[in-house]
Amino acid sequence: MARAQRGDREAFATLTEGPTKRLYAAARLILRDDEAAADAVQDSLVLAWVDLRGLRDPHLFDAWLQRVLVRVCHRAASRSRGRVVREVLAVGQAPDTTPDVQVEMAARDELERGLRRLSHDQRTVLVVRYYFDLPLAQCAQVLGVPLGTVQSRISRALEAMRAALEADRRPLVLSGEAVR
């Protein structure tokens, strides 16, 4: 870390090679777009390099890097606001048909759809809390908001997600008639 802060790019490359996969996964969950996630990770690593000398405590590097990613994702989401990305199942894609896997995939698909219906801030707080698996106090640091705000955002995000999942489970009603 010290070498990287003194401008050693090779040291910085070694330092960031490991976390890159986790950063990408988090960005993908937050942004729900593979390309945007890859861009966000690149931007985060460059920004981290540029601002690395401002990091006072080297032990907080991982949390600091996550915070940089969250900020970059926030900016990316702001830029793409209003642009809707729709996912469709590719033709010919054969899902695994074993019963357990089917159940698991159905549950994951349900969660994914629920996550997509959340606001950017709500998705972010859930990713930081459950993907990075951070305690609430560290979530507050990474998100740059007070602890109480983190608690309330998580609560609202889970509530919104549950509502979205329940709405998914209800049959679609057209003109008062359920479509089966």
Partner: protein, 449 residues
């Protein structure tokens, strides 16, 4: 288990088992390629932007950040005010509001030489010291001059502020050779380069005294630096010192001291102000051992007068020795001397047959002053004084012998101002009888206030 707990558990399991999130294979490499082109910010700038993770998010951290940012803004504002206040005006001061430093005295009584200052419009004339040969730094902040009676054997080198205040003794000087005393003040006024006279043993065993060591001494006091020591084998004399405007190099004319003590072949050399990189830039002979060499303001050219079979030639020489060209050709009626560049580098002024001439460096032809030409009836002669800081005007010293030539007294002199192209009217700056304002090594100065 509540529905919320189930949801949290579901998210945790999904996220932790998310093996589908394989990043593009070159993602990290691509990011590092961008990192190689990026430069790190200084820590203080990052801190100002509030990118620190620890401390910045707590209330105390925010207060600290706000206090820090406030203090930084205050400092920046104060620094900006200081810079704006101290910044020189964009346009160089004109001659009327700039100070001319000159020497006045009765030539029949050498001990009465004194140093004076007058504004370019002729006002504010006042004496600032007793002595002669004043040299004012290009930035106008410092001055050095020789004190003592010129008929004394020993004088003193005095350093002072540009306005003559705070005079202090720098060194004792052998006044018996003061007319040949060689020195030059650095452009920033921090040091003086001077030539020390040391004993030289001639081939016949006679001991001669010659100016064979070049020193640079700080005006603030303290030990000087010997930047060109006496040659162990051959005897050389160093004259005509000239600092480059940047203050990083000094040009000198080096002459070989012959067996009889006279000066032989001459050449132009340049040495860094710290004594390094002493090298010859021209092996041709300057017109005389003390003929001044003038740096162009950008430090790329040297102007000097060369003595050729056809007569004197005003030459401009690239400091790297790559180009040398005559700018005023030798002619029967031409004898250029004492070239000096205008501060903006657009003109070169020189003395010619008792008159003055200028040449525009962008490709003009030499122009002689119609009213200040070669000696007229009555013995009037003209000399280059100094350029005004804005390069618009040239100070001319007019000397007129009013008495019999055999008598020392009787020089009536005036300071005149003419425009750079020598086409406009002449303005009388000062009339004072007599003015002795000109030594070959110590021209007048016209500096910004």
């Amino acid at each position: 288990m509540t529905s919320e707990a189930r949801l949290e558990r579901g998210l945790s399991e999904w996220f932790s088992s998310d093996a589908s999130a394989h990043p593009p294979i070159d993602l990290h490499a691509s990011a590092m390629a961008r990192v190689r082109r990026a430069r790190q910010r200084p820590a203080v700038l990052v801190m100002l932007r509030g990118d620190r993770l620890s401390g910045a998010d707590t209330s105390l951290g925010r207060v600290r950040t706000l206090v820090f940012v406030g203090a930084a803004l205050l400092l920046v504002t104060l620094a900006a005010l200081l810079v704006v206040g101290a910044r020189p005006p964009d346009v160089a001061p004109n001659g009327a509001s700039s100070w001319i430093t000159y020497v006045s005295g009765d030539v029949s009584s050498p001990s009465t030489f004194s140093i004076w200052r007058v504004l370019g419009d002729g006002s504010g004339d006042h004496q600032v010291g007793r002595g002669e040969c004043p040299m004012v730094s290009a930035n106008g902040t410092s001055m050095v001059f020789l004190s003592g009676r010129s008929d004394d054997q020993l004088g003193r080198l005095i350093a002072a502020n540009g306005d003559g205040t705070d005079q202090r003794i720098l060194a004792d000087v052998d006044r018996s050779t003061a007319a040949q005393w060689t020195a030059a003040i650095s452009p920033d006024g921090s040091a003086v380069a001077w030539v020390n006279r040391v004993p030289l043993a001639s081939a016949q065993g006679n001991v001669e005294i010659s100016d064979s060591e070049l020193w640079v001494s700080p005006l603030a006091g303290g030990p000087g630096t010997l930047i060109v020591p006496q040659d162990a084998v051959r005897n050389f004399s160093y004259r005509a010192l000239a600092w480059a405007n940047a203050g990083d190099r000094i040009a000198i004319v080096r002459s070989r001291v012959l067996y009889d003590g006279s000066l032989g072949p001459r050449s132009i050399w340049v040495v860094d102000a710290d004594g390094s990189d002493l090298h010859q830039v021209a092996s041709v002979a300057p017109a005389s051992p003390s003929a001044p060499v003038a740096w162009s303001p950008d430090g790329r050219w040297l102007a000097y007068v060369r003595d050729t079979d056809a007569g004197f030639q005003l030459m401009v020489l690239a400091v790297d020795g790559s180009v040398e060209t005559p700018v005023a050709s030798a002619a029967d009626d031409s004898r250029p001397q004492d070239p000096t560049w205008s501060p903006d580098g657009n003109y070169l002024a020189y003395r010619d047959q008792g008159g003055i001439a200028t040449i525009e460096m962008s490709g003009g032809v030499p122009v002689r002053a119609p009213n200040h030409g070669p000696a007229q009836s009555g013995g009037v002669t003209y000399d280059i004084g100094a350029w005004s800081p804005d390069s618009r005007n040239l100070l001319v010293v007019e000397a007129k012998r009013v008495g019999p030539e055999s008598e020392a007294e009787g020089f009536g002199s005036r300071l005149l101002s003419v425009d750079a192209a020598l086409q406009g009217p002449t303005t009388l700056v000062l009339e004072r009888a007599p003015i002795v304002g000109y030594f070959s090594a110590c021209p007048l100065s016209w500096r910004a206030p």
